[in-house]
């Protein structure tokens, strides 16, 4: 059976979800998106200024990449819900990455606001991808509210610190019956492989690619890393041992 990711009845061929934030220009972004092989990418919603181009939406459509609008920069339920409604209208999708952050310095999710916003958006018919802390209890509460996917952070947004609490991420992945997408903090390819090995269904990253010295090459690295991690997760790794275990038989050994 083919190993694909399904969300809201949609099949995604890639388990790498790219963010578009941080790229220095449109060409760099396009090259990175194509090299990553992603089929889903996040966008933010901001005021449109007369004369500015709104072609990001067009660009994604041209390459058949689904937009996943986010509520980045929202601190309250009210802000998040209005931003979500605007995103649904502007981008013609009911998929939404819900971010409700506590403060500008940590960019950490604010759990009470997050839960309330998730409940309201599910009620309004959104397919909610909930950006969450790496807390198994919070992830469970979000799932109970009916979100489509839970997105625990590996470490703070843009920090590149990787996965600071692998045990919690594994717990979340093991207990969830909805897709778990590791989001935020990824620094390099091995972080993405680790996320998949811990049981995550997908990885979302932006800065690790868009702010790399060579974004397109790093995007290709992540494409391979996610595939490698997923294959490893499905393959039953060997147990860790205290002592060495020879892989060559001693039988028939030539003795001198």
């Amino acid at each position: 059976m083919e190993d694909v990711l399904q969300i809201d009845g949609v099949t995604l061929g890639s388990r790498l979800i790219m963010g578009t934030g941080g790229a220095s220009n449109r060409q760099v972004l396009t090259d990175a998106l194509l090299a990553s092989g992603t089929e889903l990418t996040t966008v933010a919603l901001r005021r449109h200024h007369a004369g500015s181009d709104s072609s990001l939406f067009q660009l994604l459509a041209e390459h058949s990449i689904r937009p996943l609008p986010n509520t980045a920069g929202c601190f309250t339920v009210r802000e998040a819900v209005l931003t979500a409604e605007l995103a649904r209208e502007a981008l013609e999708t009911h998929w939404l990455k819900l971010e409700v952050i506590a403060d500008q310095d940590s960019l950490l999710p604010d759990p009470p606001e997050l839960l309330e916003a998730a409940e309201e958006l599910v009620r309004r018919g959104f397919v909610v991808f909930a950006y969450s802390n790496d807390d198994p209890v919070l992830a469970r509460r979000l799932e109970d509210l009916g979100v489509a996917a839970v997105m625990p952070l590996g470490s703070p947004i843009g920090s590149g610190l990787g996965i600071l609490n692998p045990h919690n991420i594994a717990q979340i992945a093991e207990r969830a019956s909805i897709p778990v997408i590791l989001d935020a903090g990824i620094g390099t390819a091995s972080d993405a492989s680790l996320a998949m090995e811990l049981g995550c269904d997908a990885v979302l990253l932006a800065s690790a690619v868009t702010r790399a010295e060579n974004p397109a090459r790093m995007a290709a690295a992540f494409r391979h890393a996610v595939i490698a991690g997923r294959l490893a997760a499905l393959s039953g790794r060997i147990p860790r041992r205290q002592q060495a275990l020879a892989s060559s038989s001693m039988l028939g050994r030539v003795e001198f």
Partner: protein, 78 residues
């Protein structure tokens, strides 16, 4: 009449609609449905005084003096 568009003051003729404002702002010709007549996708949403105005309502909704409009679109973001 004077309205605020994305926090900037703008003069419009009395009776102007949301549809007319969006067409003016984006420089694109729009059908009554709010879809661009060039066949492309608009990618714009509108809030009026903090409430979403669905595209299907743009043509019928007249603006009032001192209305606060937000026109938003997708930009790069994680």
């Amino acid at each position: 009449m004077k309205i605020m568009v994305n926090r900037r003051a703008q003069e419009l003729e009395a009776g102007a609609t949301v549809l007319e404002l969006v067409a003016l702002h984006t420089g694109r010709s729009l059908f009554e449905s709010g879809q661009p007549s060039d066949g492309g996708r608009l990618g714009i949403a509108v809030a009026r005084n903090g409430e979403l105005v669905p595209r299907r309502c743009w043509a019928a909704m007249e603006l009032n003096e001192s209305d606060e409009l937000d026109l938003v679109t997708a930009v790069q973001g994680g």
